[in-house]
Amino acid sequence: MLFQKRSERLFIWIFFPLMLMMPLFLDGNIFYINKLSSILIFALFVMSLDYLVGRCGLITLGHAMFYGLGGYIFYIIAPQNEAVNFWVYTFYICVISAAIALIVGFLVLRTSGIYMIMITLAIAQMFFYYFSDSMEFGGIDGVFLYLKPETSFLGIKMFDLDNPTHFYYLCLFSLFNTLVFFKVIMASKFGRVVDATRENPERTTALGYNVFVFRLASYVIASALGAYAGYLFSMQYGFVNPSMLSWQTSGTALVMLILGGMGSIYGAILGTFAYEGLHYFFEHLTEHWMLFMGSAIILMVILLKKGIAGYIEKLLEKRS
């Protein structure tokens, strides 16, 4: 059975049915449907970060680089004046960003710990300045994507991306698939070795596994999915801009991840929703929402050591 933990099954049985019905509750309120879609997209991005940070033990402060690249790659390779096929371009974007991740990963994985945090940040900044300084990519304002792709698969048109509800379901579908995908990886032999490289790299090496190769493969997978999330995001509002790959985006994703609880597959989703919920709440309360948000983050680090997911698991353990 894929989802062995009770908390995981509980989460999946509550979260996904609820999200499936959400457009009914919202009754066509486009603002909230769009808002939810963007939260789902970011949850997918945070989940890919969780795989790196929580599972592989590789802390990166530059993951947003791939989020932004997802959008920019699409802008670069897609023709301006005709609608392309969504699935085909999903494949292209994942492959190209995986190739970039292979090169970048080859450099950054030579370091570890605090140095890896710094060098991932530096490489992400490099891309940030490349896009924000170049006229070709519209500088700091970014570029518009005028045409949404069409989503026919084997002749069947699946989603109409101009329709917010359809787009919402595409995001939910993507998030679910990503969750299952990571779960399958983690349960496989590959995933077991990855766990071992996190817990004790020396011993894993002694057992005959090449730790670097496993880390590089994980880095490539997580980066490609991060780029997919960025691609979805740029689809939603039809633009790409450099703030997508700023270090603040990476930082926010890390905050969400810790808030939700890393290493547990659903912590990323919980954290993204909790953060966005708090943000929304404080933002409507006062224009100085950052004061409350910052205090909330500080309190959370001091009090909740394993995030919301850790707290839920503790509660479930107590009851059983």
Partner: protein, 287 residues
């Protein structure tokens, strides 16, 4: 590029590098001695600049406002270390990153709450407002030279403190073997408070010194923070000497890149950093 232009850019680069060193030294000191990665370090630079502006508009004396700002920064440092940073000593780097990101939020919010979001600026103090003529057409502002001199003096003071005084001996001992220092009956938590507060004060002084040269805007701290990261990483984390060399290197490379390669100017220092880390993954002066 003519000789005089080259010369001016060189001084510009050195002066920028020295200012970077002032900020980065605090970052690297706190990391080296306490093992804390403080992302909110850039916010202290911003706080310094805003304090200088606030007190300058009220007292009209640059010296007085600089002293008041430094003292306030020192108190902020002590307060933050005692209440928040102290929680992090036995936590991993991730928790440190997170808590200090939370601090950035709080400092940014306080800044907009207390001083608003409009860009501010202060004028160069009268005594230092002149410029030194270099050739018939080119001259160099006295204030920038003044800043460079102050930075050199502070760097020398830092060097003296670390290498020649008892406090410096403790700092060096704390860097190499924390437990042993504690075993010898040294109050390590007081040492940590002092080191952190000094780091915060140095960043704030850099903010005060920059106040007449740059526009004081929200978010100015984050930009500087990233530049300091580059400096600290190139120099080797925890190494003051490394931070000094790297700061000058980054300052000069950044200044010349802006003149020679304007199209990729902001990327050049990051490329430099990536290249150096490829050859020496732990920076130039790591132990």
């Amino acid at each position: 590029m003519t000789t005089s232009l080259f010369f001016i850019q060189l001084i510009n680069g050195l002066q920028y590098g020295l200012l970077l060193f002032l900020i980065a030294s605090g970052l690297t000191l706190v990391f080296g001695v306490m093992g804390i990665l403080n992302l909110a370090h850039g916010s202290m630079y911003m706080v310094g600049a805003y304090l200088a502006w606030y007190f300058f508009t009220h007292t009209d004396s640059f010296l007085l406002s600089a002293i008041i700002s430094a003292v306030i920064a020192l108190s902020i440092g002590i307060l933050v270390e005692r209440t928040l940073i102290r929680q992090l000593y036995h936590r991993n780097h991730l928790d440190q990153v997170l808590l200090t990101i939370g601090m950035i939020f709080v400092f940014n919010a306080l800044q907009s709450l207390l001083w608003g979001n409009d860009p501010q600026g202060i004028k160069v103090p009268d005594l230092l407002s002149g410029s030194i003529p270099l050739t018939d057409t080119l001259s160099y502002p006295v204030y920038r030279i003044f800043v460079a001199v102050i930075c050199i003096l502070l760097a020398a003071a830092l060097y003296y403190t670390i290498n020649k005084t008892r406090l410096g001996m403790l700092i060096r001992a704390g860097e190499s073997n924390r437990e042993m220092v504690e075993c010898l009956g040294i109050n390590i938590s007081r040492l940590y408070t002092i080191v952190f507060a000094i780091g915060v004060m140095l960043a704030a002084i850099a903010g005060v010194l920059s106040a007449p040269m740059v526009s004081i805007v929200p978010g100015m701290g984050e930009h500087v923070l990233i530049a300091c990261f580059v400096v600290v990483v190139i120099g080797g984390m925890g190494s003051i000497k490394g931070a000094f060399v790297a700061a000058l290197l980054v300052g000069i490379v950044d200044t010349f890149a802006a003149v020679l390669l304007p199209s990729i100017a902001s990327m050049v220092v990051y490329i430099l950093m990536a290249l150096i880390l490829l050859v020496k993954p732990k920076g130039l002066f790591s132990n």
